[in-house]
């Protein structure tokens, strides 16, 4: 700890650090805002997947990272969000149930429905602790898959259903091209900004929660459940509330994913997706918003990168041509990444950045 004290004792560094951080943040924001003018559709979509994943990962990090409650059912709530959006926003033209509501309202309602689904599960989520909740939530995946394949009127069954494009203030986020500064804006370009707004909002909200009174109570439940109760934290109520909040994040992530995909299919929302979300927060860093975002970017961009450069990489080749398919290769890679993180970087990738900033030696704190 002497290092930490030493850093605090140097006032110049303390003063300079926030300023440097603001500059980095501003530069990052500018870069993110400018990207749609330069990147092609493939990369924008990859980025949008990462944003949606980041929103979902923030949700599960509130639950698993900050409160210590494992959930394997995150994919279920993503599905609830994605399909609810379709049901609320579709006009029923394709023979499936559709209420034809304004799409912005459908986004809000879909998020609330996902939260409601989490609320229905909260009697269980409030009572079970840690790994036991993880096992119970596997049931949600099976129920979800069954419903998605069989409730054809709502979900379109095996083939899934089309996702109505979002439209906001008269601007429709579809593929009709809109010329901005001589750059044609399709759905990916337009959605990019919607995704950024949603992610920023979600991240700021979660950070407020984590740094405030609820966050302290959540961490107390994770670190010392019995003491948390004795200090006055209603443990079951908090667990249930965090589960609902985490489901709402998943629902919102599901909506954004659906909008990017433009079609929802039940296969996507299987247990693998839940595991990917857990992988994100373990790799990125448990319990923090930045950890969720970094992990989500890593896990969701990796397959895209490998797909794009599959011909240039050894062993990796296009699916069905004999080598390792990019999807598989990326799973190997983030499998390895999880092992590496758990062994060498407890605290995840964000910890590396933090350590560099404080000049802390590896392994000093844990």
């Amino acid at each position: 700890m002497s290092d930490l004290l030493a850093t605090q004792a140097k006032p110049r560094r303390v003063l300079r650090r926030p300023a440097a951080r603001t500059c980095t943040a501003a530069a990052g924001a500018l870069l993110l805002l400018a990207l749609p003018f330069y990147l092609d559709r493939f990369w924008l979509q990859a980025g949008l997947f990462a944003m949606a994943a980041a929103i979902g990962a923030i949700g599960i990090n509130l639950l698993t990272g900050a409160t210590g409650q494992l959930s394997m059912g995150h994919a279920f709530f993503l599905a609830v969000g994605a399909y609810s959006y379709c049901v609320f926003a579709a006009d029923g033209g394709d023979g499936l149930t559709g209420l034809g509501l304004p799409t912005w309202l459908a986004v809000v309602l879909a998020t609330l429905v996902a939260g409601g689904a989490g609320g229905l599960f909260s009697p269980i989520a409030g009572r079970l602790r840690g790994p036991y909740l993880g096992i119970a939530t596997i049931a949600l995946i099976f129920i979800g898959q069954h419903v998605l394949f069989n409730a054809r009127d709502l979900t379109g069954g095996f083939n899934g259903r089309d996702v109505p494009p979002l439209s906001l203030f008269g601007l429709t986020f579809d593929d009709r091209e809109l010329l901005v500064a001589n750059v044609p804006f399709g759905s990916a370009e337009k959605l990019w900004y919607a995704g950024l707004v949603l992610l920023l909002g979600g991240a700021l909200f979660a950070r407020g929660v984590l740094r405030g009174r609820p966050g302290r109570a959540m961490n107390a439940i994770r670190d010392h459940r019995i003491a948390a109760g004795v200090i006055g934290v209603p443990v079951a109520r908090y667990r249930a509330a965090v589960f609902v909040l985490s489901s709402m994040y998943a629902g919102l992530a599901g909506v954004l994913l659906a909008l990017v995909f433009q079609r929802t299919v039940p296969d996507y929302f299987g247990i693998t997706l839940s595991l990917e979300y857990l992988a994100m927060i373990v790799i990125g860093g448990l319990g923090s918003v930045s950890g969720a975002v970094v992990g989500a970017a890593f896990v969701s961009l990796l397959p895209q990168l490998l797909t794009r450069y599959s011909d240039a990489l050894p062993l990796v080749s296009a699916p069905g041509t004999g080598g390792i398919a990019p999807g598989e290769a990326s799973r190997y890679l983030y499998g390895a990444a999880i092992v590496a993180v758990v062994l060498f970087l407890p605290g995840g990738l964000v910890r590396v950045a933090a350590r560099r900033r404080f000049g802390r030696k590896p392994g000093e704190e844990r």
């Binding site: 700890m1 930490l4 605090q8 700021l204 909200f205 979660a206 407020g208 929660v209 740094r211 405030g212 009174r213 609820p214 966050g215 302290r216 109570a217 961490n219 107390a220 670190d223 010392h224 019995i226 003491a227 109760g229 004795v230 200090i231 006055g232 934290v233 209603p234 443990v235 509330a241 909040l245 704190e365």
Partner: protein, 256 residues
């Protein structure tokens, strides 16, 4: 200040009788020591008082409230605070955040207010941080507020836990071995803090402690447990010379 009445309290785990028909009263504003050899049932008693264990029979009343059957957080809501025998302080959180956790029952900010950073949340946070600083000064921890709790020496961590309990503005304080594992210097300091809590804040204290020096110096009343049974109850000097107590601690002389 209400008094705490433990009345015919019995706790049984399967075949083991952890507490057997124990009755004692903690008078308001006093330090009541609960002593006895290891396994006497002192921690079990604390766990019932704070709602962690269920009583098999008997009652615990704090003022007009019956504590048996209440959940831990409701008991905390009545102003019963407790420190644990083993540290229950998250090592990575700062001391200040740990103490703020103690303010949980006195604050209202929920998920929405915290997430949206409403002015009410910010105002509440500021007010309670100020009070936390006062309590840290009272205990002598103000210079460590910004440090992670895990970086403090053991004795300071125990003090931080005591400060966290005080942050709950308790009316009854349950202290489970507050000076265990401390140096003589730290013991003196903690004892002074505890005496200060009783004298200046008027809080009733139940103290489980093996250090007889600390017990005799602080306690107004002493209750002695042995194998779950109450074997003595009274003023420290009387209890000290009670033949049953001496036997429980030192064993009986073998009759030839």
């Amino acid at each position: 200040m209400p008094s705490l009445n433990v009345d015919h309290l019995t706790v049984r785990f399967a075949g083991l009788l952890a507490l057997d028909d124990v009755t004692f009263t903690v008078r308001p504003g006093t330090v009541h020591a609960l002593i006895g050899p290891n396994g006497a049932g002192k921690s079990t008693c604390f766990n019932v008082l704070s709602g962690v264990y269920r009583a098999t029979s008997g009652s615990v009343r704090f003022g007009e409230h019956e504590l048996t059957g209440m959940s831990p957080h409701s008991i905390a809501g009545l102003g019963v605070a407790r420190i644990f025998q083993n540290l229950a302080l998250p090592p990575h959180a700062t001391v200040e955040d740990s103490l703020l956790l103690g303010r949980h029952r006195l604050t209202r900010t929920g998920f929405v207010a915290a997430g949206l950073r409403l002015p009410s949340a910010a105002h509440e946070e500021r007010r309670h941080r100020a009070r936390v600083r006062e309590i840290a000064e009272f205990v002598g921890l103000e210079e460590y507020l910004g440090r992670p709790a895990g970086s403090l020496p053991y004795g300071q961590q125990k003090l931080a836990e005591l400060a966290r309990a005080l942050c709950m503005e308790p009316r009854l304080l349950l202290l489970d071995e507050p000076v265990a594992g401390m140096t003589a210097d730290e013991r003196r300091r903690v004892a002074a803090v505890i005496a200060g809590v009783r004298d200046s804040l008027g809080i009733s204290i139940v103290l489980v402690e093996h250090d007889m020096g600390v017990v005799m110096r602080l306690a107004d009343t002493v209750t002695v447990l042995d194998f779950g049974r109450l074997i003595a109850d009274g003023a420290p000097a009387d209890v000290q010379n009670d033949p049953d107590v001496v036997r429980a601690y030192l064993g009986e002389e073998a009759t030839p």
